[in-house]
């Protein structure tokens, strides 16, 4: 029997490799997000979430138009399997991690590798900042901090229907600067929505640089606990540590797993970019070649 850890390692490495490849090909990209989140997404998809097989087309369909009175809503949730009361749901809040999610879907056989060729192409659903029509997404959260509230509404509805499935949210630490996040935590705790479980990629980075410099959010664990949330702080690159909190029996409190991560993890070539690895733009062709050479070593 294959150890899930082997599978998770393969998926995590695949996320980094695909995002690096894409960053080189498109002369820029959200590479550090893939590095910090690779293990979290890999553990979610290979170990933690109870999902059915994808029911969506392997190659994502073109953008069907914005929802309206004459155009029914379409979401990319089918890549996470059919809806069922006992199955889990996934909500990517930090939608600038979309590329990492698409890579995770490919590595777990939920989307065709050809799907990534449509990334950021006109008329495609495989958008750079994913929205609900994008593969693996089911709400529109690009303004950030709205997804945890939307997932809360879904979770409340599912509890009213007595569904046993859990609702997993992937957030970035920057979202904890936003008032709506704390409004959501307050409501999740008040209504004891322990069917909401949130992985937070605490990589300490945001657009303007290190969060310590932009707007501090620490101590995040005690802040969340003071709202009555259940919080586990883990090494976000340790597969067992990431997976363990999901085994805890629900106790009425929403669960937050703070995955402390390194935005350059598994990608030492990013190190010189510290402390601002947020969005990678190559300085010149030479730097791009360096990353291309590094990709070859990954393919090894």
């Amino acid at each position: 029997m294959i150890d899930w850890r082997d599978d998770a390692r393969r998926v995590a490495q695949g996320i980094r490799r695909r995002v690096l490849e894409h960053t080189i090909n498109s002369n820029g990209g959200y590479l550090s997000q893939a590095c910090s989140s690779a293990e979290t997404l890999a553990v979610l998809y290979t170990k933690v979430m109870r999902l059915g097989p994808s029911i969506a087309p392997p190659v994502p369909p073109p953008f069907p138009g914005a929802p309206s009175k004459t155009n029914p809503r379409y979401t990319g949730a089918g890549y996470n399997g059919a809806r069922a009361p006992e199955l889990d749901r996934f909500f990517l809040s930090a939608v600038h991690y979309a590329l990492a999610l698409y890579a995770a879907l490919i590595e777990t056989g939920r989307m065709s590798p050809d799907g990534l060729a449509q990334f950021n192409k006109d008329g495609s659903t495989v958008e750079m900042i994913g929205a609900e029509h994008s593969p693996g997404l089911e709400v529109t959260g690009g303004s950030l901090a709205q997804t945890i509230s939307q997932a809360g509404g879904v979770a409340l509805a599912r509890r009213l229907r007595r569904e046993s499935g859990r609702n997993w949210v992937f957030m970035s630490d920057g979202e904890f600067q936003s008032g709506q996040t704390w409004e959501a935590v307050q409501a999740l705790c008040f209504y004891r929505l322990d069917n909401v479980c949130v992985y937070v990629d605490v990589n300490g980075q945001q657009c303007d640089g290190a969060m310590e410099e932009v707007m501090k959010i620490e101590p995040l664990q005690s802040r969340l606990e003071s709202f009555s949330a259940r919080v586990c702080s883990v090494n976000g690159h340790d597969l067992d540590a990431l997976a363990a909190p999901a085994e805890l029996a629900p106790d009425g409190r929403p669960l937050f797993i703070l995955a402390y991560t390194d935005p350059c993890a598994g990608m030492p070539i990013l190190d010189p970019r510290r402390p601002k690895p947020n969005y990678l733009r190559f300085k010149d062709a030479g730097e791009r070649d360096q990353f291309a050479d590094y990709l070859k070593t990954m393919d090894g």
């Binding site: 009175k69 529109t140 959260g141 509230s149 809360g152 509404g153 409340l156």
Partner: protein, 335 residues
């Protein structure tokens, strides 16, 4: 004219009786938005969200995605000013069936600029997928819920509370996208919305007695705004068109009428009565309606300007035809 009290409170309970998918969210203004009777009758379908409107809107979106019909109750200003981003992304973009009940439109509250919704229609009219309804009497309040229930996507209802007159027959329900014809005529087309309709009706009876033929229509659907009867009336109006709204003249009823008239090539004069691109302040409704030219006397003066005729109508004349004496007895509305 009868004056009814807590119409929405009773109606919501009755209406939701056989609709288990209908739930109510409130942001600490449950009694103030007449959602208290629903809370007490269906406690399992009522969710107190606290003073946290942004989270409440996105929660409503999540609930609607799962097939519930969340009815959000709070003051109008806290809907569109505090949580516009959330209404846009969590509700309007996905075209979800969330119903937003916004109370205290314009001059109906002495709560001051922070509580007076004066540009809600303008803001929400610009939002794709949004349907907008404004009620003007007890019959509108009682029948708006049925009228909007079938509507796909989000609906904003500019709501009234407390003591409300019944201006329209109880058996003539509000119809989405259809104006009510209150009088027919061809000298003037008068389009009024919300509480302005009551005020306009005070003037029109005496104006008719002075020989003016007025096509008075009560507008309850601000978006979509496509009732062909409205443009028919505008094109037939000899002297021109008057709109009257408890809202800034920028982006509301007057603007919607102007847009349609221009598109249809209706070359008539248009007078937009409403708040003239100004904030207002905390004071009583009659005071504000007089101060900002939103009352029956202001309408008479505008008609005199438009027709060039001196109608010789005084405040006393209008007082004599007041539709309800009870209003003057009613105490100023509290928060």
């Amino acid at each position: 004219m009868p004056l009814l009290s807590r119409v929405h409170a009773r109606n919501l309970v009755q209406w939701a009786k056989d609709k288990p998918e209908v739930i109510v969210l409130s942001a600490d203004l449950t009694s103030s938005t007449e959602a208290d009777l629903f809370r007490d009758t269906y406690p399992d379908r009522f969710f107190s969200m606290g003073m946290a409107e942004q989270n409440m809107m996105s929660f409503a979106g999540g609930l609607a995605r799962e097939g519930f019909v969340p009815c959000v109750h709070t003051f109008a200003v806290f809907i569109y000013r505090r949580a516009y981003d959330q209404i846009c992304d969590s509700i309007a973009y996905p075209n979800l069936r969330v119903r937003l009940f916004g109370f205290l439109p314009g001059v109906t509250t002495p709560g001051g600029a922070t509580h007076q919704a004066i540009e809600d229609i303008a803001v929400l009219r610009a939002l794709p997928n949004m349907t907008i309804v404004e009620v003007g009497d007890a019959t509108d309040v009682e029948t708006a819920l049925d009228a909007i229930h079938a509507a796909d996507g989000p609906v904003y209802v500019r709501m009234l509370r407390g003591e409300i007159p019944r201006l329209f027959p109880a058996d003539e329900p509000l119809r989405l996208g259809r104006a009510r014809v209150l009088s027919t005529g061809s000298d003037l087309a008068l389009f009024s919305a919300g509480i302005c309709t009551e005020e306009a009706m005070r003037a029109t009876s005496i104006l008719r007695a002075r020989g003016l033929s007025i096509q008075h229509m009560h507008i309850s659907t601000l978006k979509p705004f496509n009732d062909p009867a409205v443009m028919d009336a505008a094109s037939r109006a000899r002297y021109g068109v008057i709109t009257m709204e408890n809202h800034t003249i920028v982006g509301g009823l007057g603007t919607a009428v102007a847009e349609r008239m221009a598109e249809a090539g209706v070359g008539k004069r248009l007078v937009r009565m409403g708040l003239n691109d100004t904030f207002i302040h905390g004071a009583s409704r009659p005071y504000l309606m007089r101060e900002y030219d939103l009352d029956a006397l202001a309408l008479v003066r505008q008609i005199e300007k438009l027709t060039g005729a001196s109608l010789n109508i005084t405040e006393d004349d209008l007082a004599a035809v007041r539709l309800d004496a009870a209003h003057s007895e009613a105490k100023a509305e509290a928060l």
